[in-house]
Symmetry: C2
Subunit: 215 residues, 2 copies
């Protein structure tokens, strides 16, 4: 099984990391400093397949890297992970460029004619960026049936092999209805689902929903 | 039954207008000129409850007006309809600010911190703008089961009575799962579904899909 790096020690990173360990993967969680309390707790909770280190150490260790950092901090976190450490590897980008500085609900710091997924791909041209999972709460990411049905997950990226490896993990998480939109420019479409996500969350007071493309 | 005005003589206007006539409504289709060929054909096809005229005549006639013009031309069409003719009335805005000038798939001419629905509401403050239906193909608008399931329709607007009247029509079209997002600023969320709509259409080669919020 491929070795996994998780960038980000928040709820999203811990939820993705724990789910991957349950599936049998080795997971190294990376953060700015190697003594991050949340990462240490993750290692203590998840046993021998879990480890932690700096962003750079997590990227060096891994063949597949999940970007679970906040969208506004993602480029910087990936720079700390190191261009060389990410070269030739798969980065599964599940972040969103949410901007909380212009009022609530949050807006997007980039959208329409560009996207965070594209920005990351341009900044790290030797890395295979796959955008997916960013359109649901992290508990639904690793267990789509938690939404109450069989929802749709989109993915996009420029590299077919990277997308195939990502689809394998999505299937292991329980996603059955996976829609490949094509190259990374399609991250514009999936990131622009966030404004309706936040408004649906506010209207329904339920964060465990998901999108289904009925067709 | 409320009298309906349709602004726009394209496929969307004709599909909405014909469906409303089948439901028993009187419908006047408005266009720039009163001799528009598409509007005349609509009248010939739909019998005595159908009529046509200028944008202004359609707005004068109607209690509820559907904006079925292209998004980039909507403000101008509504100005031709006349501020006074729209005052105190419900405008159901089903248009999208699609911009085909910056490459395909189309982008949005306004999004994120503003929306076409809000622009219309600001321009016509005495009109009750309700944004809805813009997220599906027009045949699905008037027959949601055509998607193959029971999809979700969002609506938003500042006036509760206008939204209640809109919900009545949505139910008559067959929508069961209707989600009120709140005021007109939520049009940012529903209009920003278009980038994923066009990409899903390209990926699936099927225009008869719809969104379901599984919850």
């Amino acid at each position: 099984m491929k070795k996994i790096g998780i960038l980000g020690t928040g709820t999203v990173g811990k939820t993705i990391g724990s789910a991957l360990i349950k599936l049998g993967y080795e997971v190294k969680m990376g953060s700015r400093t190697s003594d991050n309390a949340s990462a240490l707790e993750f290692v203590q909770t998840n046993g021998s397949k879990a480890s932690n280190g700096t962003f750079s150490e997590a990227a060096q260790f891994a063949e597949i890297i999940f970007n679970c950092t906040l969208g506004m901090a993602s480029i910087q976190a990936l720079e700390l992970a190191g261009k060389n450490n990410l070269s030739g590897k798969v980065v599964i980008d599940i972040s969103n460029p949410l901007d909380f500085s212009k009022g609530m609900p949050p807006s997007l710091s980039v959208c329409n004619l560009d996207s965070l997924g594209e920005q990351i791909q341009r900044k790290f041209p030797e890395t295979h960026v796959v955008k997916t999972l960013n359109i649901v709460n992290c508990e639904v990411m690793v267990n789509p049936s938690k939404s109450g049905g069989d929802p749709t997950m989109f993915l996009c990226g420029n590299d077919e092999k990277a997308k195939a490896e990502t689809v394998e993990i999505l299937k292991q998480f329980g996603w059955n209805d996976i829609l490949d939109l094509g190259d990374i420019t399609n991250a514009r479409g999936t990131e622009m689902l966030l404004p309706i996500w936040v408004r649906t969350y506010i209207a329904t007071k339920n964060g465990y929903f998901a999108f289904k493309i009925i067709r």
